[in-house]
């Protein structure tokens, strides 16, 4: 056994991850769940020892996630084929890691719940699932179905109980089976490994593109995804054709958007919303025929969160895309300077800011009308919920542009991610008190007007950034 190689793999597992900032995410996960875990342990009346055990399990889960992710980062087809001894060392390490973590988790579970061997096998199954979903992220769907109760968890519990009660030789055989499964999950550079790696790279490219506000690079898309994309982007292409048929000197800012690849996002958004409305309407119509006992308005009420948060996240997403393009790529910086007919300096900055603010307000108004129109078929509290969500999202454009003027380039992403947490609580409160839609919207408009009135520094001169 080449222990130097093992040490190097372990070291790199903590140094490199598929996503930058993986440590921060893991820490956030632990901190976020620490209080609920402690609460559950204390609520079960088992004292501080149990609370410590519950928190220890959280830490173990985060460590398992980070360690496995670090291993997958190294398991590329090229290294698997060319780096001597790497695959074997990784297999040995993965098996060791999972068994050690399962043993530690079993100890904690025993201290907390007195589960004995059942704790070991439960932890082993969870760890196997972690390994599987990290290897093949689409397996999350199965895991999610399990958590959401679609799959019966009874057989799993039965399996755990059966294994824990089985004679030692059988348990050893099961452990050997787990070890073989784990070893087999390490890619050796074959066709399956290449396909898996390609999916992984696509996922990373998609995430990176989303963070930078760019569309997913076409080269990273498989054929089916390109075709699916065509279903959604045709209104944008229609808008582009219309713009290009105009004389070259006309609409310079719209042409700039075209060059930056962000023009006509509003057309996609409206089309997607129309598709959602169509799907929702069809679902309600079909349900009313198949199951007349189900109330259609209740279905729409249950869809309120997806409707409002989904639609307004799309809106904030386009805001993020527009702003990110000004900062993230040299190509777009060059466009700002070199594109003929474009105003320069302060005029360009102010022009773009005004244009995007106008676009945002118009899109917001259209989306609000559309979701309110759908919510009108729901219950009164549905309307309250949707209107309050819309009101919360309205001042976002001010906030983002304010930050942009202060030369902070990453606020767009935050705006997009903030939609759900920012609007959920007020919307839920408004729904519970059935606050009239007009009142919520008026409050949102007032906040926006106040912000706009208080905030009048000149915008930063473009191009700025790279």
């Amino acid at each position: 056994m080449n222990t130097t190689a093992h040490r190097a793999i372990v070291r790199l597992s903590w140094q490199a991850h598929t996503q930058p900032g993986a440590w921060r995410y893991a820490l956030g996960f632990v901190v976020l769940l620490m209080a609920p875990a402690t609460g559950v342990a204390l609520a079960m009346g088992q004292g501080t020892g149990a609370a410590l055990a519950a928190n220890g399990l959280l830490v173990l889960a985060a460590l398992a996630w980070l360690a496995c992710d670090g291993l997958w980062t190294q398991n590329t087809p090229t290294l698997a084929r060319l780096l001597p001894g790497q695959v074997r060392a990784m297999q040995e390490l993965l098996v060791l890691l999972v068994f050690v973590l399962a043993a530690l988790a079993a100890l904690l579970l025993h201290a907390w719940l007195g589960l004995g061997w059942r704790g070991f096998w439960a932890a082993m199954l969870v760890l196997l699932m972690v390994v599987a979903v990290q290897r093949e992220p689409w397996l999350w769907i199965l895991a999610w179905l399990g958590f959401s109760g679609v799959w019966a968890l009874g057989p799993v519990r039965g399996l755990i109980d059966g294994l824990a009660a089985a004679p030692v030789p059988l348990q050893l055989a099961a452990a050997l089976g787990c070890a073989l499964l784990l070893a087999a999950s390490i890619g050796r550079g074959g066709r399956w490994h290449h396909a898996s790696q390609a999916r992984r790279l696509r996922g990373q490219a998609g995430w990176q593109a989303m963070k930078e506000g760019r569309p997913m690079p076409v080269a990273m898309m498989p054929e089916w995804q390109l075709r699916l994309k065509g279903l959604f982007v045709w209104p944008q292409q229609w808008w582009r054709r219309g713009l290009l048929s105009q004389p070259p000197a006309s609409h310079p800012l719209a042409r700039l958007e075209l060059g930056m690849g962000i023009g006509g996002l509003w057309a996609i958004q409206l089309w997607v919303l129309a598709l959602i409305a169509l799907a929702l309407g069809t679902a309600v119509a079909v349900l009313s025929v198949v199951r007349p006992s189900i109330d259609g308005s209740l279905v729409i009420h249950h869809a309120r969160f997806g409707l409002s948060i989904g639609a307004f996240s799309m809106l904030a997403g386009s805001l993020h895309t527009q702003l990110s393009m000004l900062w993230s790529r040299r190509r777009d910086q060059a466009l700002l300077v070199l594109m003929p007919g474009l105003p320069q300096g302060a005029e360009l900055s102010a022009g773009l800011e005004q244009r995007w603010r106008r676009q945002y307000l118009l899109q917001w108004a259209l989306l609000t009308l559309a979701v309110l129109g759908l919510a009108a078929f729901g219950e009164p509290r549905t309307l309250s919920f949707v209107a309050a969500s819309a009101a919360c999202v309205l001042p976002l454009v001010w906030w983002v542009q304010h930050a942009q003027r202060r030369l902070r380039d990453r606020v767009g992403l935050q705006a997009w991610m903030l939609v759900a947490p920012l609007s959920s609580l007020p919307a839920a409160l408004a729904a519970s008190y059935e606050v009239p839609a007009g009142l919520s919207l008026a409050a949102g408009a007032a906040v926006y007007a106040l912000c706009a009135w208080r905030h009048k520094p000149p915008p930063v001169l473009l191009p700025f950034g790279r």
């Binding site: 056994m1 080449n2 130097t4 190689a5 040490r7 190097a8 070291r11 790199l12 140094q15 490199a16 991850h17 930058p20 980062t73 190294q74 590329t76 087809p77 090229t78 084929r81 060319l82 780096l83 001597p84 001894g85 790497q86 074997r88 550079g189 074959g190 066709r191 290449h194």
Partner: protein
């Protein structure tokens, strides 16, 4: 894992054996090796690869002898990268077989892997790591690691060792990739467009290093490039990839000496080719023929015969 094989304990030097810096001719390439000393480092037989319905490599045969330096030339999309990937077992071919050091490239053992250095076209380095961390990682897997060479190259090529790789420029990442590939003194070095993003000074130094590697250790080198001037500096052999096959592989000096560019009327060129038989017509364009092995003194009136350059060969053979 037994990596303690005799060839690591006794580093080979140029003086220890006869270097073959020239590629085999097509006829010689067909002859089977009769002993292990003459066994080719790379043997490709009947390799075919297609992407969907587009054929890329078609029944390709190729052999590289120990110590050969071969520049692989081909147009964009000709399949150079695919060929190099198939060579190393990084891509599954639909048909054919590749052997490296006498083993199938798909099932190489660790001792064979330790003898290969590879620089891919696109950086595959871990971007979170610094150069030092990356090199420490790779050092752990190779039984042979030339620390002196690594330190010297890092310093000469000015690669920052404490900065995350993701923050290095494209050229710096490329340099690091080359250092990583050279660090374990490989016996086979496969380089896919290694100099594309290097500045002229580093490029020259890299080529010098490459020649040093060949002369000191007898490393077999195969590299693809579009920079023909670099090829002329270091490639003792050139291989032209055309329509999925190696159209021609030959020593570069001999090729430049033997191939002529003849210009004139079609009838006069045909007469010249006939008079120069058995000269090989490599390409025919209107009024511009490329011939190999033609007798210059046999050129009829109206035919201008000039030495052909690598660019002419590239145009004719790819």
């Amino acid at each position: 894992m037994n990596l303690s094989l005799p060839w690591w304990r006794t580093p080979r030097r140029a003086a220890d054996r006869t270097l073959s810096l020239h590629a085999q001719t097509a006829a010689a390439a067909e002859e089977p090796a009769d002993d292990m000393a003459a066994a080719p480092t790379v043997r490709v037989h009947g390799l075919s690869l297609a992407y969907g319905r587009t054929p890329v490599l078609q029944n390709l045969d190729w052999r590289l002898q120990p110590g050969q330096v071969v520049g692989l030339l081909g147009r964009n999309g000709a399949g150079k990268t695919s060929l190099l990937e198939c060579l190393l077992g990084l891509r599954d071919a639909q048909a054919g077989e590749v052997q490296l050091f006498g083993q199938s490239s798909m099932t190489l053992d660790d001792s064979a892997r330790a003898r290969i250095g590879y620089v891919p076209q696109q950086s595959d380095l871990f971007e979170d790591l610094t150069a030092s961390q990356l090199l420490a990682y790779f050092r752990s897997f190779y039984p042979r690691w030339n620390t002196g060479k690594v330190d010297s190259l890092l310093s000469r090529w000015e690669v920052p060792t404490g900065t995350p790789i993701g923050r290095l420029s494209g050229g710096q990442q490329q340099r690091l990739s080359i250092i990583r590939a050279l660090a374990h003194d490989p016996d086979l070095l496969v380089l896919d467009e290694p100099v594309a993003s290097l500045d002229p000074l580093v490029r020259r130094d890299f080529l010098r290093e490459l020649v040093g590697q060949v002369l000191d250790r007898g490393t077999t080198v195969v590299f693809s490039t579009h920079i023909l001037s670099d090829l002329e500096r270091v490639a003792f052999n050139v291989a032209f990839l055309q329509t999925g096959r190696i159209a021609l592989q030959a020593p570069l000096d001999a090729l430049l000496e033997e191939v002529v560019l003849a210009t004139g009327s079609e009838s006069a060129l045909a007469a010249f080719a006939a008079a120069s038989a058995p000269a090989q017509v490599l390409s025919r364009q209107a009024g511009r023929w490329l011939l190999r092995g033609a007798d210059r003194s046999a050129a009829p009136a109206g035919v201008l015969v000039q030495p052909a350059g690598l660019e002419d060969l590239f145009e004719a053979l790819t």
